[in-house]
């Protein structure tokens, strides 16, 4: 299975939301990273064929998805960023409704809904109205609906937003387990989520892919540019204004700063092993990121 994005572009009037992006996605987990307004959601909506590109095309195994119609949607699972629900429906009813829209016969749907409610720890609230749920529970209902048809292509827009750390870890494990021979694309602001599960990372800025690679590859690009510097508390503010500070940790009367800089920022600074966060900050700067 191969999902190819070919010079995909989307304009809103004069504003360019996605600017001629191309990529070839094969089974695996893809993390889409980028600041707000980078074009992640627009790209994901075009991948789901619910937003018409201004130009360019998306192909699944060589066939254009817009022309594939229900055959494409049949292999697609999608969780939008702004996920809504019908207030009168319970979790089980909502999932059964979406299962009906996915064309799953009622006897199969009942079994699948039950499985997913258990998998996402929602079985105990299956018969409660979704409007009474917490943000994290609603998000899990959203993830469950995306998984209903066991999709070959799973697109999740900010799936970890609203989830507590325990739920985030559970979701990460679930996605890793699910991926296998499927294409999973998830967008997030949370670099650590991508770092934990993504096989490939696509970094977007101003509608374009500015970086693409595995986590070690991207982190490796800033090797020799990440430093740790211990300074008195009084100097912390100065350093924050002067350089990109990725992390700030108190240690007695001093603070330990993790600095992203092309050159050695001070004689006492020691080089450290880079992580994906550092690569992201190197390209966007602490304020922009």
């Amino acid at each position: 299975m191969e999902l190819s994005i070919d010079r995909l572009t989307k304009h809103y009037g004069r504003k360019i939301a996605v600017d001629c992006v191309s990529a070839t996605l094969t089974p695996g987990v893809y993390g889409l990273l980028g600041a707000n307004g980078a074009g992640k959601t627009t790209l994901m909506r075009m991948l789901c064929a619910i937003l018409e590109p201004t130009s360019g095309e998306v192909r699944l195994d060589g066939k254009e998805i817009a022309a594939m119609g229900e055959n494409y949607r049949d292999v697609l699972g999608y969780l939008p960023q702004d996920f809504g629900f019908y207030p009168t429906y319970t979790a089980a009813e909502f999932l059964s409704y979406i299962a009906a829209l996915k064309g799953i016969p009622r006897d199969h749907a009942g079994k699948r809904v039950k499985e997913l409610l258990e998998m996402l720890d929602l079985a105990h609230v299956a018969d409660k109205k979704i409007r009474t749920f917490s943000g994290g529970m609603k998000q899990r209902v959203g993830i469950a609906q995306a998984l209903l048809n066991a999709p070959q292509i799973l697109i999740l827009d900010e799936p970890t937003s609203g989830l507590d750390p325990k739920e985030r870890v559970r979701l990460r494990n679930l996605l890793s387990e699910y991926a296998g021979d499927k294409i999973v694309i998830l967008s997030t602001h949370i670099v650590s989520d991508v770092e934990a599960i993504a096989d490939q990372v696509l970094v977007m800025n101003a509608g374009q892919f500015i970086m693409q690679g595995t986590v070690p590859e991207l982190a490796g690009r800033v090797r020799g540019k990440v430093w740790e510097l211990t300074v008195p508390r009084t100097q912390a503010r100065f350093w924050q204004e002067e350089v990109t500070v990725a992390n700030y940790r108190h240690e007695g009367d001093n603070v330990v700063l993790r600095i992203i800089s092309d050159g050695k920022p001070a004689d006492q600074a020691v080089p450290c092993e880079p992580i994906l966060d550092d690569a992201y900050l190197y390209h966007f700067g602490a304020k922009e990121a």
Binding site: A49, R73, F85, A100, I104
Partner: protein, 257 residues
């Protein structure tokens, strides 16, 4: 055949067989066969999918009440008014947009509850969902209209004007339904309030025609009504064709940008 000879022959046979099955063309042929078998197995294990009629039944299960009960409410109000005030057939057109108003929330709820994106990414898509809702709403309206016409005949104790009354009911209904579908196709945030305004405006307009354009309800104006029914039927057919096309190919129908 001696043991040595047999051993030699077997060795030759194995070498020959291995050589035959490791030739690139043979490997390719075997791989093609394996892929075909695996695809066949995958197809057999794939979950079945509903056809449109099965889907229609599911939509009826989930949305039947929301589509039919409000229409029943409008029917009861119309019947009550007709019965109490001996309403003339000319007043009927002004009640027809209310049947559209009654089903409107179901058509727009996806936009308001922010579910339309999820619905659009499903196999059936928003377009097929709209088509199923349209069929159910239309069937409900047909039953209500038949009941209303029956009541009208019973009140007038005559079948004489039945054909004209059918036209009086169809024109506003088709016009409002077409307007609603055209608005959904437009995919803007103000679609629902605009649709509501059109339906309510139609109620006022048709009441106004009874008082200010009485000639419109004379037998001589029948041609205008027939032309109007044909015109709106064509527009409605165009909207339905668009929905069917939207379901087959692109899938942006009804999702607000």
């Amino acid at each position: 055949m001696s043991d040595e000879e047999l051993e030699q022959r077997l060795k030759e046979y194995f070498v020959q067989t291995i050589d035959e099955y490791t030739r690139p063309a043979q490997i390719e042929k075997t791989a093609t066969r394996c892929i075909a078998v695996m695809r066949k197995q995958a197809d057999a294990s794939a979950e079945p999918r509903q056809n449109f009629w099965g889907f229609l039944s599911e939509v009826f299960h989930f949305e039947g009440r929301s589509l039919l009960l409000p229409q029943l409410g409008v029917l009861l109000v119309t019947c009550h008014v007709a019965w109490t005030f001996s309403m003339s057939a000319y007043a009927l057109p002004s009640y027809m947009p209310l049947f559209i108003l009654a089903v409107m929330p179901v058509f727009f709820k996806g936009q308001y509850c922010r579910v339309s994106e999820v619905e659009a990414a499903t196999r059936t898509s928003v377009a097929q969902l709209a088509l199923a809702r349209l069929i159910l709403a239309g069937a409900g309206a047909l039953v209500c209209l038949t009941f209303l016409l029956g009541l009208e005949v019973w009140l007038q104790r005559s079948f004489e004007n039945l054909g004209r009354v059918v036209l009086y009911c169809l024109v506003p209904y088709l016009a409002c339904m077409t307007a609603m579908l055209a608005l959904i196709r437009r995919r803007r945030k103000d679609d629902a309030p605009l649709c509501m305004a059109i339906a309510l405006g139609s109620v006022v307009f048709w009441r106004w025609t009874v008082r200010l354009l009485p000639w419109l309800y004379e037998a001589s104006a029948l041609g205008i009504w027939i032309a109007a029914v044909l015109f709106y039927s064509l527009l409605l057919a165009k909207e339905i064709t668009y929905i069917i096309h939207a379901n087959k190919e692109v899938n942006m129908y009804g999702v607000v940008d």
